[in-house]
């Protein structure tokens, strides 16, 4: 029954019940399904089981779809990918005629010289290859990633796989059963399919078995871990053992003309005839030397196909229907074209005969799908069913070994003559087995080719190449699935910022406001009046316990032993190599415990560092990460205190809470730890408060500041504010091997301490002259907004001597300023003559703004 039409290259093609895209197209007369990768040879339906590359088409803009296993739907848009101007009339087919001139390794041999020609050649080649155009502007799909821990993973849900899964479940194991296709979709209707579905029902009724049909096992990794993927899901399966019931494909043999449209593997032919009711040709020649092949012969005849001749071993003669001529123990020599199969040559008792036909059906052996075990030889993998067969050895007597990569037997001969004399290096040199079929078709042919020519007497496993994931084609977006696993951290003020029109961006795993409209205005508010900033993203840690003082003394190079209760200090964190890893502010309480705030992006690492040294030094410390539990709002600017005082009964003056002090205060009825900080260079209060009360505190502060013209400010304004103070961002202004001396932060290191992390390294490095230093720069005659200079190299004469790490134009100072690392000569920075882009740069002392810090002491 017709179920509508699909669009194929502009024309409508009827879709019948049960059709695949391939069967619908074939019924409508399509014979050339694709053009081969290099030689642009016509390729038609061949394996019919989703293995070979021949039937790949573009479906609804998605290239590389195997039409033989894709159910046809009305309304689908189908095109053939390769071919210019079309797959039917491909002018690039001339490359096939040039094949003798394009040996294996052609690119490497030909496009080496002249070098300048390579980019142009590469562009041409790239345009000519590929299997279609990727759609542009398509929304990426979201692939779910999950883990599954089971006792047994059974790959393949045919009869053997279903049995293995049931057996395992009945032995009280948890089982995951996966199959690349829907269960039974590869089996023709009949008693076998009915039995399979009955079996399936039993499996599905078993609660210990999870069935993932339509999920392909892509690879086996250490552990073992098996990546199992469908279009929308990537499952990382961690089984104790793996059962491979992946079955076998029909063997691909290499003989002249073996890739012509009209050459069919038995499964494809009988499925097309019996399942889809499509005649594959007017005159068929069948070559069958397996039991399965004899069945296919029967199926084809029963479906009404005109089989003119059957090439069979003597034992099968009785199975050949009377309507067909039985050619006993004949040998298939070649298939003849042009363009499609028009005749085959068969050798019978030493005589060659030409048999006119338009379809050649081959069932000459089985090739177990064993690539998953060849991928991971050391893992606990058991093969069952057809996958456990030894398999047959294919003939290689011309034609194409590898359909995906267009590697002919002649190519392999040539590579062999060049000295590539094992299956492994033939694979690498010719790229045979490296195409979309992943060696399912050609792997055995390549191994047989190598084995026949080497001294090895064993033509089985040793010649097979190591398999590598993915075992089946997989979309890059599936492999990139975890890339989409983004954790967006938000402060309690997220909605408040959105309501205020903030532009949010990523910063250290958080979404934070960069600006609320006009960063210049925000900047001016902080310098002249007051500003509010959400700093709830800062890492916040409570360090307590008997050895808390010892821990902070040893983790930080900064002197902290003399830190009085109620006082805070800027601290550095070094790694064991003496390099600056992070920084923060340490606040001492009276009871030997501490509050540490660290940078937004470094909070996780700071937590790990504190725990690491607690463990390595054998200390007794309680560490509580309060980052997500506490919010924080920075109130900064000359009117900050005026803004706060109406909201609090606590003393906030310089006597009670001077610069670098901290204390417990209640603001707008909310308990806060207030830390007097000066990152922006103005009078500032960091109010750390219970997260749940953030919005309440924010609006109270906003209301109170209205009279002073308070503004919320974001990271853009902060960038300028901190740069004017010469404060650096660890990470942005530092390099991974910056010592405190290189950054001008010697004041944060107390070398008189007995020991701290990185001390020995600093002592060793002290003997070596500083190769570079981070320095303040002022710019003249540069761009109007000096932010453009960030990242540009610094030149002295014609030589690069540094790089600008931060730059901005300061309205307050009326000039452009920045930070840069600059190479030193005998420990000294060059005095002048520096350039960055078009700007003249001069080394200048920092801070640029309020060098004595009078404003922040307020």
């Amino acid at each position: 029954m017709t179920r509508g039409t699909l669009r194929f290259e502009g024309r409508g093609i009827p879709v019948e019940d049960g059709d695949t895209v391939a069967s619908a197209l074939f019924r409508a007369g399509v014979r050339t399904f694709s053009r081969s990768l290099k030689s642009r040879r016509r390729r038609g339906l061949y394996c019919g089981t989703g293995e070979c590359p021949n039937c790949t088409v573009t479906v609804d803009d998605l290239p590389g779809v195997r039409s033989c296993v894709t159910p046809a739907e009305a309304g689908m848009r189908v095109e053939r990918g390769r071919g210019w101007p079309s797959a039917e009339h491909d002018l690039l087919h001339v490359t096939d005629l040039m094949h003798p001139l394009m040996p294996v390794g052609f690119y490497m041999k030909t496009f080496v010289r002249p070098r300048f020609a390579w980019p142009a050649a590469e562009r041409l080649i790239r345009r000519a290859t590929g299997s279609g155009r990727l759609p542009e502007g398509r929304e990426p799909s979201r692939t779910i990633v999950r883990h599954a821990h089971v006792d047994a993973l059974v790959v393949g849900a045919g009869a053997a796989g279903l049995s293995a899964a049931l057996e395992s479940a009945r032995a009280s194991e948890r089982v995951l059963l996966c199959d690349a296709f829907p269960i039974g979709s590869q089996v023709a209707p009949g008693p076998a399919l009915d039995a399979l579905h009955a079996h399936e029902a039993e499996v599905r009724a078993e609660p210990a078995i999870e069935v993932l049909d339509g999920h392909a096992a892509l690879g086996v990794y250490d552990g073992p871990t098996v990546a199992v993927a469908s279009a929308g899901e990537l499952v990382q399966v961690h089984p104790r053992r793996i059962v491979l019931a992946t079955g076998a494909t029909e063997m691909h043999e290499a003989f002249p003309g073996n890739d012509l449209p009209g050459v069919w593997l038995g499964r494809a032919a009988s499925r097309m005839a019996a399942r889809h009711g499509v005649s594959i040709g007017a005159r068929l020649v069948v070559v069958a030397s397996t039991d399965e092949g004899l069945e296919h012969l029967g199926t084809l005849v029963a479906a009404g196909a005109n089989v003119t001749a059957a090439v069979v071993p003597a034992a099968f003669v009785d199975g050949v229907p009377p309507s067909a001529e039985a050619i006993v123990d004949g040998e298939l020599v070649s298939a003849r074209g042009p363009g499609r199969v028009r005749s085959v040559i068969v050798r019978e008792r030493g005589q060659e005969r030409r048999l006119p036909c338009d379809a050649l059906v081959l069932s000459t052996g089985l090739a177990p799908r064993d690539e998953l075990v060849r991928m991971a030889p050391g893992e606990p993998i058991e093969l069952v069913g057809d996958a456990a067969l030894a398999g047959d050895v294919p003939r290689v007597a011309g034609g194409y070994i590898c359909l995906c990569e267009d590697v002919s037997a002649h190519d392999a001969e040539q590579a062999w003559a060049e000295g590539f004399r094992s299956a492994e290096i033939l694979k690498r040199y010719t790229t045979a087995t490296m195409g979309p079929c992943r060696g399912a078709m050609c792997g055995r042919a390549l191994a047989a080719f190598a084995a026949a020519r080497s001294d090895q007497t064993d033509r089985g496993a040793p010649g097979r190449t190591t398999a590598r994931p993915p075992s089946r084609p997989v979309a890059l977006e599936t492999l990139a699935a975890s890339v989409h696993e983004v954790i967006e951290k938000r402060t309690s003020l997220h909605e408040t910022h959105l309501a205020a029109g903030a532009e949010l961006g990523w910063s250290g795993g958080w979404k934070r406001p960069f600006a609320y409209g006009d960063p210049k205005d925000e900047y001016a508010a902080v310098r002249e009046r007051a500003g509010l900033m959400d700093v709830g993203t800062l890492g916040t840690f409570l360090i307590a316990g008997r050895d808390a003082p010892a821990l902070v003394d040893r983790v930080f190079p900064t002197r902290v032993a003399d830190l009085a209760p109620g006082r805070s200090r800027y601290v550095l964190a070094l790694d064991e190599a003496g390099y600056v890893a992070d920084d923060g502010v340490l606040c001492a309480f009276g009871d030997g415990s501490y509050l540490l705030t660290s940078t937004t992006g470094g909070a996780e690492r700071m937590d790990a560092r504190l725990r690491e040294w607690t463990h390595r030094l054998g200390l007794h410390v309680h560490l509580l990460d309060r980052t997500s539990e506490l919010g924080a709002i920075l109130v900064a600017g000359p009117r900050a205190r005026d803004l706060l005082e109406p909201l609090s009964d606590d003393a906030l003056g310089t006597d009670a809470l001077p610069h670098a002090a901290h204390g417990e205060v209640t603001v707008a009825g909310i308990p806060c730890t207030a830390i007097r900080t000066g990152f922006v260079g103005e009078l500032g209060f960091e109010l750390h408060h219970p997260r749940s009360r953030g919005p309440e505190l924010w609006s109270a502060l906003m209301r109170s500041g209205e009279a002073f013209g308070v503004r919320a400010f974001g990271l853009d304004a902060l960038e300028l504010l901190r740069l004017e103070k010469g404060h650096l961002y660890v990470g942005q202004d530092t390099m991974p091997d910056d010592t405190p001396a290189k950054l001008g932060l010697d004041r944060a290191v107390d070398t008189s301490k007995e020991w701290f992390v990185g001390k020995a390294a600093l002592e060793r490095l002290a003997a070596i002259p500083l190769g570079r230093r981070l320095a303040g720069l002022t710019f003249e005659s540069g761009p109007p907004d000096a932010a453009e200079l960030r990242g540009t190299p610094v030149f002295a004469g014609g030589e690069i001597v540094g790089r600008v790490t931060s730059a901005a134009t300061s309205p307050t100072l009326g000039r452009s300023i920045g930070l840069a690392w600059i190479r030193t000569a005998e420990g000294e920075l060059p005095a002048d003559g520096l350039r960055a882009g078009d700007a003249l740069a001069t080394v200048a002392p920092t801070p640029f703004y309020d060098p004595d810090g009078e404003r922040l002491r307020g």
Binding site: Y221, G223, Q236, H238, A577, W613, T614, A760, R764
Partner: protein, 75 residues
């Protein structure tokens, strides 16, 4: 891909939950030259070695274990 790491608190978990902390080593050396070797010249031998691991996505505990770098066998 997945080695299972025995965390002293959480039991065996996939290694993707952990951060590798390098070869276990003393926290100080006798002099600055020995300290350089301590920090920059780990043995990196194939075979078994003591290593430090951090259960980043779990209990956030540091611990040591013995792992064979060739076979990934632990213990």
């Amino acid at each position: 891909m997945t080695v299972r790491i025995p965390c002293p608190t959480c039991g065996e978990r996939p290694h993707t939950e952990f951060t590798f902390g390098g070869q276990a080593r003393p926290h100080a050396a006798d002099d600055t030259e020995a300290d350089f070797a301590r920090v920059f010249l780990p043995d990196n031998d194939p075979g078994s070695a003591r290593e430090r691991w951090f259960h980043t996505m779990g209990c956030r505990t540091w611990f040591e274990l013995t792992r064979d770098a060739t076979t990934n066998r632990i213990g």
